[in-house]
Amino acid sequence: MMKQRMTLLGALAASVAFVGACPAMAEDKEIVTVVKVTGENWFTRMDEGVKAFGEQTDGVSTRQVGPARADAAQQAAIVQDLIAQGVDALAIVPMDPSTLEGVLRRAMGRGITVVTHEADSLQNTQLDMEAFDNAEFGAHFAAQIADCMGQSGKWTSFVGSLGSLTHVQWADGGAAYMEQFPNMELVSPKNESFNDANRAYETAKEILRSHPDIRGFQGGSAIDVIGIGRAVEEAGLEDKTCVYGLGLPRDTSAYLESGAVDGISFWDPKDAGFVMNVLANKVMNGEPIETGMDLGVPGYENVVVTDGPGEGKIVRGQAWVDVNASNWNEYPF
């Protein structure tokens, strides 16, 4: 009986091996962008940039893929299958950079170009692209707050959590910038909101109670300004306070309109997606990547190139977008 089973298995395997396979077509170079998760507004916007690059560049086809759920294991599986397909270049926004190290080492071993975004700790990448230097981004908020306050008065800063490295860098960058103004006083810095608009609101209310004369707020996580804005609105201080921070236009629009939040900044994922593909294409063609290059997108006209933690390099732009009550509706997210 067992023998017959094996014969059957053998026959199946043989039939599988002999069915003719279609030849793969040689065509455009293929750059695939892998995002953390599909269906999120942020990455839907990024897809626009990815598509735009493919449409305006000859000899290159681009597409964006990502797992349906935010799971590092699913993202790694997708990358692994893309390597097996033999794509020409990968542009990746890692869910968790460390889990992809082994997979990306393999990709580069097979001659696939690897470019990443938001992963400046990753070793196995040829190029990591960051929209801006985090300390500069913090200083940019602080400059707006100082202008708005006339360089004098009390201000404070928020972070999603003290474990969020980028948020802490923004808060520190802001504080360092403010040191040039002797009349600016930083009170209870780096309040944690735990990425929860309600916590940000409660904390902002407490700060308003303990420092009734506070005038400046620097938000950290994208929802901090929402919580701060609500507290400011309830206290009726829309015109007296200066609130700036990371934020998304749609989410923050109500507070921008009322003046409770004065301005938000973010980096446009569409541009980030486009620039990642520009860089992947350049690396694929063997072009050098140098400080001062113009990548053809506002904010990435004069990039800074430094050495990364591994063999690769880090490319930084100055690509923040400032949004206030007058222009938030230009952004569909």
Binding site: L9, C22, T38, D71, A72, D81, A84, T99, G102, R106
Partner: protein, 336 residues
């Protein structure tokens, strides 16, 4: 106790595997059939396959048996090992010693977690779905607490990286290990007293108890074994990704259950075959890779998994065996 129906399941799964491969050849072509792609798929199967074995064992034991804590314990094993091992053996000086220490710690944590599951279900008599949901949260919580929620880097240890990613004689080592474990598990279920008692207990716990089978002890050992397999998955994950994190593979719980049900393991207990679980896992992997090759949305994949689950549940109700030539209708023993 076998019938044409159950053998139909095996033939059906072989057919599904062949069908998916033929579909891939027609739809994608050479790139899919490349050796590298099969190696790549081979490295992706073991972690899910081992978790599915755990679910299979729990289901066979009956009494609504299931193990939801698998991937959480796999991650916890990896976390504990990565925190403890470097203080005992230096990864640079003695890579093999380091890897063995790492594995030993991971397996010990698997044993501890399994003993907890086994005690709760076997001796305290808790419902498996509730007990393992609780321990899943417990294991996840401990892993978060130990690491503060961040990923732990294993670093680049060539020996471990080779184990996780490089093939030997064309076969990925983790896949070879997976097949060895499958063979051992099949032998355990088929030839040992534990295996026979497990199936008897799953078929009818009351009769098993009156027949003198030590039900509590069998349950305890079943969940211990499932957890041990999960910690092996944890070692493979750590080797493959050079890191461990508490939330790696958060979608694996459901996929492992899907593999098990597709393999025809009876959720009410008493029946399940190791080879069917292996074939079910490979079919799912080939299909999943095919979707990626064909650039099909990952949302569709979730939908397809749901459809497959229904298809296989329906298949379990149809007696395919009666349509087969007599030569394929085995009616003797074989449960492994």
């Amino acid at each position: 106790m076998r019938s044409g129906k159950t053998d139909g399941q095996l033939v059906f799964l072989i057919g599904i595997n062949a069908l998916v491969v033929i579909a891939a050849m027609i739809l994608v072509g050479d790139r899919f059939m490349a050796l590298y792609n099969f190696q790549s798929m081979g490295t992706q199967v073991p972690e899910l396959g081992l978790l599915a074995f755990g679910v299979m064992l729990a289901m066979i034991s009956g009494n609504g048996g299931i193990d939801l804590s698998g991937i959480a314990l796999a991650n916890l094993s990896g976390v504990a090992a990565i925190l403890l091992a470097p203080s005992l053996v230096s990864p640079d000086a003695a890579p093999l010693g380091y890897f063995l220490t790492f594995s030993a710690i991971a397996l010990s944590v698997g044993m501890l977690g399994g003993a907890l599951n086994g005690a709760l279900i076997g001796y305290a008599g808790m419902t498996p779905i509730i007990a393992t949901l609780g321990t899943q949260l417990l294991f996840t919580g401990v892993a978060v607490g130990l690491t503060g929620g961040s990923a732990q880097q294993l670093g680049y240890v060539p020996l471990i990286d080779d184990f996780g990613n490089m093939p030997i004689w064309g076969v990925p080592r983790t896949f070879a290990l997976f097949i060895l474990i499958a063979l051992a598990l099949a032998a355990l279920l088929k030839f040992t007293r534990f295996g026979i008692h497990l199936f008897l207990m799953g078929s009818n716990p009351t009769a098993a108890r009156f027949a003198g089978i030590r039900v509590k002890s069998i349950l305890f050992r079943t969940y211990l074994l499932a957890s041990l397999l999960a910690s092996v998955a944890g070692i493979i994950i750590a080797a493959r990704t050079s890191s461990v994190k508490w939330d790696y593979g958060s979608s694996y719980v459901l996929v492992a259950i899907l593999i098990t049900v597709m393999a025809g393991v009876r959720p009410e207990g008493g029946y399940g075959r190791v080879i069917c679980v292996v074939l079910s896992a490979t079919a799912l992997q080939i299909l999943s890779s095919l979707f990626n090759f064909m650039q099909i949305s990952n949302f569709f994949r979730d939908c397809a998994w749901g459809l497959l689950l229904l298809l296989f549940l329906a298949n379990a109700r149809v007696h395919w065996g009666t349509y087969l030539p007599p030569v394929l209708r085995r009616t003797d023993r074989a449960r492994s």
